[in-house]
Amino acid sequence: MSTLRLQQLHGHIFPENKTRAMATSSSPLTTHVLNTAKGVPGSNMALSLHRLDPLSETWMIITTGTTNADGRCPGLITQQMFLSGVYKLRFETGPYWESLGETSFYPYVEIVFTIDNPSQKYHIPLLLSQFSYSTYRGS
């Protein structure tokens, strides 16, 4: 295989900015973390988006990011990469509460969901306290 071809393949497999949250403002998948114990956005929380590879049945990481001051994380995925399948949003809730000097019951929260129709918009909030959380498909 030629060097040029290898480089092309490398570029496909490891595209630039694959795992960092992208700056594009129109991700078809969005989230919003709310700290319901304090009535504030869950800001500065690390999170990651994964897709389940159906053949190998393993999770492939798509994006890592951190919620902004409003508890949101824009640029989770591009429309192009948003294929049908099973995805997982993992929220690092344990470190979040630790950074606020508090203990919590959940070391992390993973929400696993199915995307049937990638042309739709999916909004997945996480409402969170130290001892409870809830999620729903919103808009």
Binding site: G94, Y106, P107, V112, F131, S134, Y136
Partner: protein
């Protein structure tokens, strides 16, 4: 003497306003050295959506645990689709003398959990 053990759960189908009966679920503990999940028990909720006998007091040592609810299969059995293929709740036990009650309130497009009593 309580038969239910130190860990209980209760699943409610909030979409229909009924207990989620006959939902499969499993309890796992994270092996702290090998960082892999060990399945401890597989159970099914009863007609009231409850499940006891998940673990014995002796086995309920401090550590990280995971309750996995087969919510997707549950909705399938009702002939409905759902947004979540399953729901996993990962929690930390630091004091194994506690009694932990973990409800799961769920519909086809939402779920919530909390540490109850």
């Amino acid at each position: 003497m309580t038969e239910s053990g130190p860990l209980t759960t209760h699943v409610l189908n909030t979409g229909d306003g009924v207990p989620a009966a006959r939902m499969s679920l499993s309890l796992h503990r994270l092996d702290s050295e090998m960082k892999i999940w060990t399945m401890l028990s597989v159970s099914m909720t009863n007609e009231d959506g409850r499940c006891s006998g998940l673990i014995s007091r002796e086995a309920f040592v401090p550590g990280m645990y995971k309750l996995r609810y087969e919510t997707g299969s549950y909705w399938d059995s009702l002939g409905q689709n759902s947004f979540y293929p399953y729901a996993e709740v990962v929690f930390t036990i630091s004091d194994s003398k506690q009694k932990i009650h973990l409800p799961l309130l769920m519909s086809r497009f939402s779920y919530s959990t909390y540490r109850g009593s």
